[in-house]
């Protein structure tokens, strides 16, 4: 149990740049070092972690924890992976306002803002490259982009949860029901 906690605590502490960076770290630790999972199980877990909601790192921690020690294992692993973030960011939040008063810090942050926009564009583009070049996903993508940009331009706000659910619904109808029927005919 304690080992489970420490393993995920370390993974949470040493991975920068979000969940995707964590995948490599989890693989190295869980599959190669600790041998808690086979390569095959890891691939299956990744598929689940990526297709369920929530941060991928949390999904992986919960899954590995459950496979090792049931529900308490998953609670312990999830706490372990979250704890470093919680402590570090809480401490930063105490000092950020005072810290931003320094001119040099404010200067550095004008640069960091640019990097953040760049990183988001890069992540989005990376995902976009993997999107199938078919009429339906492409037109859904274009419509969502159009709605979001128009909302920004005209300062209207509208929950994107609704867009996500609409997309899911279209997916269920087109791929889940119609697609499954076609396969049945074959």
């Amino acid at each position: 149990m304690l080992e489970l906690f420490w393993t995920f605590f370390k993974i949470g502490l040493f991975t920068f740049g979000g969940g995707y960076a964590m995948i490599a770290q989890v693989k190295e630790t869980i599959v190669e070092k600790k041998q808690w999972m086979t390569e095959e199980e890891m691939v299956q877990m990744l598929a689940i972690a990526e297709s369920t909601p929530g941060p991928i790192a949390i999904n992986m921690a919960t899954y590995v924890g459950y496979k090792r020690r049931g529900i308490w294992g998953s609670a312990v692993a999830t706490c372990g992976v979250v704890l470093p973030s919680l402590v570090i960011i809480y401490v930063i939040s105490l000092f950020l306002d005072a810290f931003m008063q320094f001119r040099l810090v404010a200067w550095a942050f004008t640069g960091i803002k640019c990097a953040v926009a760049f990183l988001i564009l890069r992540a989005g583009y990376g995902l976009f490259k993997k999107l199938p070049r078919k009429i339906l996903p492409m037109s859904m993508f274009v419509i969502v982009m159009g709605i979001m940009l128009a909302m920004e331009l005209f300062s209207v706000s509208f929950s994107s949860v609704f867009l996500i659910l609409m997309g899911g619904l279209i997916g269920i109808v087109v791929y889940g029901i119609v697609g499954a029927k076609k396969e049945g005919v074959k």
Partner: protein, 191 residues
């Protein structure tokens, strides 16, 4: 009751974002601005901090927003909110619904959500980019030359590293470089 609001809003974000932390950024921004929890400028500054500190970006953002709004308890509650949906869903899948993710309805749902999430992420990126360069509103654009120069240099460095040194710069490297550029370019303008 701020704790309950924080918990529910972050629970919702944890529940509706497929595809990892980046997918959560548009939703976090939307929510934070709607409640007036952070200013837009602070939101993008904080994104920079969250990407250069360890841990999942979504958890970092939840902790920060929770802390600003409700102190330590606030950060605890917001983090719990963002983590809980994952936790419940994954435990259910691991325990009972072993083949749930292979079900055609579920697969269809995920395939339908995918293009929407990508659209949300890219539009957020485009908007942040435009705002950094000086976009204010439909009728107002005040070019921020310092940011324009930083962007140009950043893209130049990224491209150079990729093509010449065959190295894809990581998020943390890009943030450190951009902080240096921010210092350098601002200093040149100030001097």
């Amino acid at each position: 009751m701020i704790y309950l609001t924080l918990f529910l809003e972050f629970f919702k974000m944890g529940l509706f974002t497929f595809g990892g932390g980046y997918a959560m950024i548009p939703l976090i921004e939307e929510t934070v601005l709607r409640y007036g929890w952070l200013t837009e400028a602070r939101f993008s500054e904080m994104l920079g901090v969250c990407e250069s500190t360890p841990g999942p970006v979504a958890v970092n953002m939840a902790t920060y927003i929770g802390a600003v709004q409700g102190g330590f308890l606030g950060s605890l509650v917001a983090t719990l909110g963002v983590v809980l949906p994952s936790f419940i869903i994954i435990v259910l899948i691991a325990a009972i619904l072993k083949n749930f993710t292979d079900h055609p309805i579920f697969k269809g749902f995920v395939r339908g959500v995918q293009p929407v999430v990508i659209g949300l992420i890219l539009s957020t990126g485009v908007i942040l980019f435009a705002k950094a360069l000086g976009y204010v509103s439909l009728t107002e654009f005040k070019a921020d030359w310092i940011s324009v120069i930083i962007f140009a240099l950043l893209i130049g460095i990224y491209w150079l590293a990729l093509k010449v040194f065959k190295k894809k710069l990581s998020a943390i490297q890009l943030i450190l470089i951009s902080a240096g550029l921010g210092l350098g370019v601002n200093f040149c303008f100030w001097a």
